[in-house]
Symmetry: C2
Subunit: 323 residues, 2 copies
């Protein structure tokens, strides 16, 4: 009978009780609301004890549930301690997680990955390494880093690739630009003014693809200015050297605005790429957790797939990335 109650159930119960609201608790647990609803009902069913009084604006724990909650908190804490000591006893020393990231990957994404990693493996350090795609792929190849956050597409196959959500590319311009008064920009308007790009050598495949996309709507890619970081790009736009394409939702300097381009949806993917033969044991756990939180998906090499819908709270936190 008590085998029907696992730690997971206690965790869910506690979250629901603390939020007083299943929807909110589901968000906190990175679950969908109906899943949590059925879990709670299942628990009541299994124990043959009503756990919540439901009313119009949420749920409220019954006394029996309160018992489970306080006891459950205790149990969860004990479990964590127990595991920690067992692990400590065996003196598990992690080799640091060597994580690369390209400067064209959203910093928030990088930080989220790091924070997930350290929350899962507090004892494991992260050795970061930044660079452009070409460099990082080489490091992955040589086994000098364990994983990297890169923009797709990537060359070379055989890398395990976990693409994150797509985000649109929009035009970045000065807010006093005449076109800034429009809600959308026609592709033709970009001709000759879209001149600021990331240094092509940093990511030849992505650059090539971008040029193709521009070509498809009749714009000649006119790479007048090249630079290496998103910040530099914004500075160059500020100084009036032309327009640039940036990720929708990325943080903008004051005096700059972004506008979508009519009729096209250019998107960019960020992805977590694994080294071919990593000895880093934290990788599977990391992937697992990221998948749960971000709906990350696997793809054999670099073919992008339609993403499933994004978690609402992730949208809120502006974690929509190049896709």
């Amino acid at each position: 009978m008590s085998d029907l109650v696992e730690f997971r159930n206690l965790k869910y119960l506690i979250a629901v009780a603390e939020e007083g609201n299943i929807t909110r608790a589901a968000k906190r647990l990175y679950l969908a609301q109906p899943s949590l609803s059925t879990q709670m009902r299942g628990l009541e069913e299994a124990l043959q004890v009503p756990l919540f009084i439901r009313d119009r604006n949420g749920v409220h724990a019954t006394p029996a549930a309160e018992i489970l909650i306080t006891g459950g908190r205790e149990l969860l804490k004990l479990r964590d301690g127990l595991i920690a000591t067992a692990r400590a006893l065996h003196r598990v020393t992690f080799t640091p997680m060597r994580l690369g990231f390209s400067s064209f990957v959203d910093h928030a994404l990088y930080e989220m990955v790091c924070s997930v990693h350290t929350s899962l493996f507090p004892e494991c350090e992260i050795a970061s390494r930044s660079g452009d795609n070409v460099e990082l792929l080489l490091l992955l190849q040589k086994g000098e880093i364990d994983a990297a956050l890169l923009a797709l597409p990537i060359s070379g196959s055989g890398f395990k690739t976990y693409p994150f959500t797509k985000s649109r590319l929009v035009v970045c311009m000065k807010s006093d630009d005449p076109l800034a008064r429009l809600k959308e920009i026609a592709p033709a308007e970009l001709q000759a003014k879209l001149t600021i790009f990331q240094e092509p050598k940093q990511h030849p495949e992505a650059h090539l693809r971008l040029m193709e996309m521009l070509d498809e709507v009749g714009i000649r890619g006119d790479v007048a200015s090249k630079t290496t970081t998103p910040h530099n790009i914004q500075w160059m736009v500020e100084s009036g050297q032309g327009y640039a394409l940036v990720r929708e939702g990325s943080e903008m300097h004051v005096g700059l605005v972004t506008r979508p381009v009519t009729g096209v949806t250019w998107t960019v993917d960020s992805a977590l790429i694994l080294g071919k033969s990593t000895s880093q044991k934290t990788v599977p756990g990391l992937i697992r957790e990221l998948r749960k939180r971000l709906r990350l998906q696997v793809s054999p090499s670099s073919v992008s797939k339609p993403p499933r819908s994004v978690r609402p709270d992730i949208e809120d936190e502006n974690l929509r990335l190049f896709a």
Copy 2:
């Protein structure tokens, strides 16, 4: 990270350590050995801690595992206590489980069902009721019992049926009978001597089916003597009134033997039948546990059965049961 360790894992770990042998522990847990093997390996993987030293004749817990084991025992005990108090608080009173069983169902089976039930729901009494199939089905129909152990097939549809054992029918005769020297009895030999049967009214469908089966091998069912319990049947055989068919492996009076019939495999199924609308809340848990336990019943005593025969087929009301 600790979310990868559930109570289930601790339970398994403890069992393995206590037995010092995965195979034996698996048996105790009603699992298959490879399942438990992979569970243990998964746990080691998840924790990144070796838990067992494996050698030729078993496994032996590492110090880290010992920590988990003692702590795990504690946690499991706490969980049970916690659930008990939570339930107590809500003053859950079970209505007794009203269980019927026909006298033609193996008594060991009945006892197993009862013991599983009380081990799952110690607070819930069992109100037993015996009778013949017809009576018991009527009681189920009227909702006066919650479930019954019966021999299939059953008449009347809409009953949820969980068949579990298939056992062969063999001929029961006196050990000094001339035919008793043979290892098997030819069907023709039974003609006119197979005369002792269960009272047909007790289970008309089963009786009818039996007559059909006899007919298929050219024996006319010649019901000379009728009786109501397996014991009585044996007495009648003892007193020389003829042969009878009994369940293979059932306990025999001294002076009686059983012999299989050449070329045929008559079997009889026992099943747990549920009342149409039971309010008995223990039923789902009971079913669940019985399924788990009886699946493993490959070894005990009988010839190779199709192991999945234990699996209840909910759609299947009857018919495939005698085979």
